[in-house]
């Protein structure tokens, strides 16, 4: 694992929503090829943290850098892919058109071919002309993941990607994320499943009271989780 360049660095990050301080001075460095799991209770701010990390939310204080550069530059977004826990597919386009549009916006060459490839990877080629409303939540989630990866980003941020996926989908995503990290890409994902975090991530971070806690290396440490504490 290469350590020298931080692919994502957040310095003193804070975010307030209304009068509530969601993130309070978060500092974190993630390196190329790391796979990091983010855990925390419902409503602790995981989605907010990931959205700030992916430059989809402007922090109230502090800064976010990708590969040493401030994320204000819109062109840098080509190097990142974000999967939200809602699919956010355009309901007026077919899933193939959604993928092609994403490819075009990210300047992918031959977006049509790439879209067909990803439909195949998702096992959804037969439903290429379906609109998102005609598909299940799990299927939309798979297409949403494909959309975020169609331009082969170096950083992948996923917000509860396993929610809504069946056993086949979960295994499919597991393998996909392993492939990403093997290719020196940085993966950050949030999850409520401790087993998933431990099996996939090399590092687990726990968010509580607006601060990040190092929950240690997944293989050797237990992070603070009600299920684990009860065991």
């Amino acid at each position: 694992m290469s350590i020298s360049i931080a692919s994502i660095e957040m310095r003193g990050l804070s975010k307030a929503l209304g009068d509530r301080l969601i993130l309070d001075g978060v500092d974190v460095r993630l390196h190329c090829g790391e796979c990091v799991a983010l855990t925390g209770d419902n409503g602790c701010g995981k989605t907010t943290l990931l959205r700030c990390m992916a430059a989809q939310m402007r922090p109230t204080g502090g800064e976010v850098c990708w590969f040493g550069k401030n994320v204000i530059d819109a062109a840098l977004k080509r190097r990142i892919g974000m999967v939200s826990h809602e699919s956010r597919l355009d309901p007026h386009l077919t899933i193939r058109e959604n993928l092609i549009f994403a490819g075009r916006m990210c300047s992918v060459s031959r977006p049509g071919l790439r879209a067909d490839h990803w439909l195949d990877v998702c096992g959804m080629s037969a439903r290429a002309d379906h609109r998102p409303k005609q598909l299940s939540r799990g299927m939309c989630q798979r297409i949403s993941i494909a959309r975020s990866l169609i331009h082969e980003p170096e950083i992948v941020v996923l917000d509860e990607p396993f929610s809504g996926l069946d056993a086949f989908g979960t295994k499919w995503l597991h393998n996909l994320l392993r492939e990403r990290t093997a290719g020196e890409r940085t993966v950050v994902f949030s999850t409520h499943d401790p087993l998933c975090a431990e099996s996939l991530a090399g590092r687990v971070l726990h968010l509580a009271d607006g601060r990040l806690q190092e929950a240690g290396l997944a293989a050797t440490a237990r992070y603070s989780c009600p299920a684990n504490e009860a065991a």
Binding site: A16, L17, G18, D19, R20, G25, D27, V28, R29, T60, L205, A208, D209, R211, L212, Q213, E214, S224
Partner: protein, 240 residues
């Protein structure tokens, strides 16, 4: 203790000075300035009308300036100034329309006419109202500051139209009516006195808004410190 007493003394001094200024302006406008030949006593409405019209315009520019400052600095203090200017400006704009209608009735025999300058003054009032409406609909302070700043800046582009209306469009509104020197003095005194009043109200209202903003944060901090003394907090590492 001494500095608090000094600041209270200076605030009282300012209030007394402004009150004296207002009384002086009123006195000159009512008793010293002569009665206009054509319109009679109704002409004296002009001393208030011009003053509040000028403040309505100025308030909008101040509001837009503070809005721009907020968008650059992202400091809610600027938004508090903008809100204060917006509220006072709305009051001044409303008074402009009311006093303008009274003056129009006396001068032109109608409560309202679709003359360009009156129209653009109404537009300004509508823009202020839109600004305050937007502010009332958004709960999050930064979100509210940002979106209302956009509305304020858009509205500020309308202000030159108000100022230039009588040059760009033909209309019956007097541009710079000829006045006797004593009338001019009365007008200037009214403008100065009402501007001073606007300035002090602007500062006071802003202080009020700032206190309203700080109260929930103080309550949250008190709740948090009460909770933390009730149970031990987890060990946190801020740097990971």
């Amino acid at each position: 203790m001494k500095s608090r007493m000094d600041s209270r003394t200076s605030r009282s001094g300012v209030s007394i000075a402004i009150t004296a200024g207002l009384l002086l302006a009123a006195g000159v406008a009512i008793a010293v300035a002569p009665t206009e030949e054509t319109m009679g006593v109704a002409q004296r409405i002009l001393y208030i009308h011009v003053s509040v019209a000028w403040l309505g315009l100025t308030g909008f520019l101040v509001m837009a300036g503070c809005a721009v400052a907020y968008l650059f600095r992202r400091n809610l203090g600027w938004d508090h100034w903008a809100q204060s200017a917006g509220e006072l400006g709305w009051v001044c704009c409303t008074l402009t329309l009311i006093t303008g209608s009274l003056w129009a009735r006396a001068a032109w025999g109608t409560w309202w006419t679709w003359e360009p300058r009156l129209l653009t003054a109404f537009i300004l009032w509508a823009l202020y109202s839109g600004y305050l409406l937007i502010r009332g609909l958004i709960g999050d302070s930064h979100h509210r500051a940002r979106l209302s700043a956009v509305v304020a800046i858009l509205g500020a582009l309308d202000v030159p139209l108000v100022v230039m209306a009588t040059r760009w469009f033909r209309g019956i509104h007097p541009v710079a009516p000829s006045m006797e020197p004593s009338m001019r003095i009365a007008l200037l005194l009214s403008v100065a006195a009402l501007t001073s009043l606007f300035a002090i109200l602007f500062a006071c209202r802003r202080t009020q808004i700032r206190i309203e903003h700080l109260m929930p944060q103080l309550e949250n901090q008190i709740d948090r410190s009460l909770n933390s003394t009730a149970r031990p907090s987890p060990t946190t590492m801020s740097h990971v």
